[in-house]
């Protein structure tokens, strides 16, 4: 039947007609309820209209119609407005003569009552709870249970009535309130009630009730194990299992009962039993071994959930000799079980691997088969983690594990997993007898995979084999910025061929916390200072950043102006140039950086002057050729999209050995202001929405940027000291966008040289801190 909401609501107009036709109205109400249950959305207006129309139907005495009205009230309670208008009708019904109406009316009433109204109907509720008619009483009690969520205090006052109800003869209504937890529970029989109670109690509360196994409560529970109702028996067994600090002896009767259930013809009973035994096996595997035979029978159960649980329990309680047999049985049906169960099985296997390390080959075969099958991310991840733990902990299983993982990444759609495995290969590969066989896999991944994987590749540089440097060269031409950056950096380090360098730059990570570093750097950029940035001011990686606020001891002192500082001199010089007069105060001037090598025809040094919205590049040029005169010398700069070269002031002429200066003025993009507020980009994941975004991290080379294609700062860190801090106003990342890699050689050369210089300086002497450039 295809029902259309608007048509049905249209039909509902007949509710307003008199006389009421019960049959037709019933039919329409049913359709409305059906639509609601199917998840059809009702807007507030139309819901309210329908609701009000429905209230007319109270005039009819048709029982079924009235009952359906109650149902409609309940369903519409949350989507219609002004539902409380039916309160009086409902209270009339619940105290009326028609017993059939009373229970349902109470339940409907409580659905529409909010906290403010509750006190008004309190009197009726209390009366209803102790009513002799069981349907009324139980309805009232159940409703009270729901009302607890709305108004705990008011309902608590009804405890006395509830206790009175509990002592009634009627089996169907037994309620045990617990004032301190405020729970009610409507159960089928008294024993069940009490037992169910234990589930509702927290562990602490439970301990208060049962202080020792000699307590009468425990005896009661144990006696329930002999009750005639299966449900009670099961509940009792379950309660015993969940008791904290239960000894094996106390568990024994519960376990034997569960054992009996394992051979029950009812699937639900078998399922319940095996699930509970599984829980027991986690803490007391020895207590469950008595059931091993029954559990083994369940492996072939037609219900897969039962079979899986049986096997995972056996895996916890089984002996080493049974592992082979069990694994074979699992593999036969693992493809049929749901992903959640698959993860459960893998976790059980993982625990087993640690318990019986000699069985790794059997497990490994099984795990690799599972890897090849279809499955979701969580499932595959569980398997990969399991294999990794075998590789890391079990030397005999290492090669097989690595081989399986290599095979997996050839065809793996999950980047996270592929990267993880590549990291592992890098770490563990060198420790294998023939590491070179993994190179092929790694190389293929580098060539074929996406950026994240390629970037993650850089961890394997523990290999000393030269052939590895070839893929490095390829990566220099990669289309992705991050990959290229890392490649360039690592290539440089490796080419130095110094183990000490490799150690510091590649293997050792940064020990300070990244967010802390960001914060500290940001602070630094806000205030000019003569001191270079001190890495020691950054808190270590262990402690979370928000605790460290008090400890970031950044000393921001204005430089004393007794003698003109270098910066002051620059400021004066620049202010004298007409084009630079309007730039505002000079924030910072960098140290000079050589842009050329010593043997070239000209020698260029660059000093960067950072203003609020601009940067002035001062190029100190010297002509080294004695037979040439250079005229109108400018340095070409290729800005990124958001930066604008405003003007270039050439050095008019450069005679031999006479330094001259040419300038280039670049405007920074508007939101690049160092005095700006934190930009909250949509969906920003990091809680510290600082202006510096960490772009990429080599082991010791960090690139920060305010925007991806904006100015970039990079820091070279050695141990806990920052050797230098570069600030590139034009993002070197954007330079790499050109199609031909060679035309960007200028900047890449600059980058490489800058780094090389730094490295050279480092190796020979303690950190010289040449100072930040700006």
């Amino acid at each position: 039947r295809h029902l259309e909401k608007s048509a049905v609501l249209q039909e509902a107009r007949i509710f307003n007609e008199t006389p009421i036709n019960p049959r037709r109205c019933l039919h329409i109400l049913t359709k409305i309820l059906y639509l609601l249950n199917q998840g059809e959305h009702f807007g507030t207006t139309e819901a309210t209209e329908a609701f009000f129309a429905m209230t007319r139907l109270f005039q009819s005495n048709d029982q079924t119609l009235r009952r359906m009205c109650y149902l409609t009230i309940k369903e519409m309670a949350t989507i219609s407005e002004d539902v409380i208008i039916v309160t009086s009708s409902l209270t009339k019904d619940m105290t009326g003569k028609e017993d059939v109406y009373r229970g349902p009316a109470i339940r409907a009433l409580c659905r529409i009552t909010d906290g403010t109204m509750l006190q008004a109907i309190e009197r009726y509720m209390k009366q209803a709870i102790v009513d002799k008619v069981s349907g009324v009483s139980s309805s009232a009690l159940v409703s009270s249970l729901h009302m607890m969520k709305i108004s705990h205090d008011v309902v608590k006052r009804w405890v006395n009535e509830a206790q009175e109800a509990a002592s009634s003869d009627n089996i169907m209504v037994q309620v045990l309130p617990l004032s301190h937890t405020g729970c009610f529970s409507v159960c089928l029989c008294f024993e069940l009630c009490i037992l169910h109670l234990f589930f509702l109690l927290s562990n602490d509360a439970l301990c208060i009730f049962i202080t020792s196994h000699e307590s009468p409560l425990f005896d009661f529970i144990e006696s329930c194990l002999r009750n005639k109702h299966e449900m009670v028996i099961y509940e009792a067994a379950s309660a015993i299992i969940h008791l904290p600090n239960c000894t094996a002896r106390e568990l024994a009767p519960a376990v034997s009962v569960l054992q009996l259930f394992c051979s029950s013809p009812k699937p639900a009973l078998r399922y319940a039993a095996v699930r509970t035994l599984n829980k027991v096996a986690m803490k007391h595997p020895s207590a469950v071994t008595a059931c091993n035979l029954d559990l083994e029978n369940l492996i072939t159960d037609s219900n897969r959930s039962i079979a899986t649980l049986a096997i995972t329990t056996l895996l916890k309680t089984g002996s080493e000799s049974s592992v082979d047999r069990l694994m074979k049985q699992i593999s036969s049906f693992v493809s049929e079980i749901s992903d959640e169960f698959k993860v459960v099985v893998v976790q059980a296997i993982s625990a087993l691997c640690q318990k019986y390390p000699r069985k790794h080959s059997v497990m490994m075969t099984f795990l690799s088969n599972m890897l090849r099958d279809d499955g979701g991310f969580e499932y595959k991840r569980a398997i990969v983690d399991c294999i990794i733990s075998i590789v890391e902990e079990n030397p005999e299983g290492k090669e097989a594990g690595l081989a399986h993982l290599c095979e997996f990444i050839e065809d793996c759609e999950h980047t996270v997993l592929a990267t993880k495995i590549l990291h592992l290969l890098g770490k563990e590969g060198p420790r294998t007898p023939v590491p070179s066989k993994y190179i092929r896999f790694i190389f293929n991944r580098v060539v074929l995979e996406n950026e994240a994987v390629r970037a993650g590749y850089w961890k394997f540089l523990g290999y000393r084999d030269m052939p590895l440097l070839c893929p490095l060269d390829r990566c220099m031409m990669d289309t992705d910025d991050e990959v290229r950056d890392r490649a360039t950096f690592y290539l440089n380090v490796l080419q130095q061929r110094q183990m000490a360098l490799n150690a510091t730059y590649i293997f050792n990570g940064l020990t300070v916390s990244v967010p802390g570093m960001e914060k500290a750097l940001h602070q630094y950029t806000l205030e000019p200072s003569e001191k270079p940035f001190d890495m020691k001011s950054i808190p270590l990686a262990m402690a979370p950043v928000f605790e460290q606020k008090a400890e970031i001891m950044f000393v921001a002192t204005k430089p004393e102006k007794f003698a003109p500082s270098r910066q002051d001199i620059f400021q004066e010089q620049l202010a004298a140039i007409p084009e630079f007069m309007d730039l505002g105060p000079l924030f910072k001037s960098s140290e000079p950086v050589q842009l050329t090598e010593a043997e070239t025809e000209y020698f260029v040094r660059c000093v960067k002057h950072v203003f609020t919205n601009h940067i002035v590049f001062q190029f100190d040029c010297t002509n080294t050729l004695n037979d040439q005169l250079l005229e109108k010398v400018t340095v070409q700069m290729e800005p990124s999209e958001s930066h604008e070269v405003l003007c270039c002031l050439p050095a008019p002429s450069l005679a031999y050995n006479q330094p001259g200066i040419c300038y280039t003025l670049v405007r920074l993009p508007d939101d690049d202001s160092t005095a700006g507020t934190n930009p909250q980009e949509g969906g920003e994941r990091s809680k510290n929405a600082s202006q510096l975004e960490l772009l990429t991290v080599g082991a010791n080379l960090w690139f920060f940027s305010k925007m991806k294609y904006g100015p970039v700062a990079s820091a070279i860190i050695l141990g806990n000291c920052m050797v230098s801090f570069f600030f590139f106003p034009n993002s070197h990342l954007s330079f790499f966008q050109n199609s031909s890699p060679y035309c960007t050689s200028k900047v890449s050369v600059f980058l490489r040289d800058a780094i090389t210089l730094q490295l050279k300086g480092k190796i020979l002497a303690p950190p010289i801190s040449p100072g930040p450039l700006g």
């Binding site: 199917q38 109650y70 229970g103 219900n303 959930s305």
Partner: protein
Amino acid sequence: MAFEKNVFNKTSRTDSEIAFLGGMTIVCKSSTDLFLYVVGSSHENELMLVSVLTCLFESLNHVLRKNVEKRWLLENMDGAFLVLDEIVDGGVILESDPQQVIQKVNFRADDSSLTEQSVAQVLQSAKEQIKWSLLK
């Protein structure tokens, strides 16, 4: 609706009576062309869920005159709603005895097409109706 579809797909094939999906325990009963499910959290007593399911099935059986089929269910949806209302209220089990439920619901399926019934049955149901109205 997505959850329901998922459950149906997973359980209808293997004809299982109890399953664990999406962190919840599900018990299932099928009859002709209908599948009945009761869903509970994994902390619930599975046997309790089964008793609810049984109660539901028995009650519907009575209401629909032993024809627990899709067609009859749709015809008598209101009765089905009332039955459900008597068994569970907002997640709390009210009743698990089918007899009690039937008594409270007091509903019988519509004898919609006379041709499907014998005359005797019609007379019988007419008599019952009169009896009830006299008692009121």
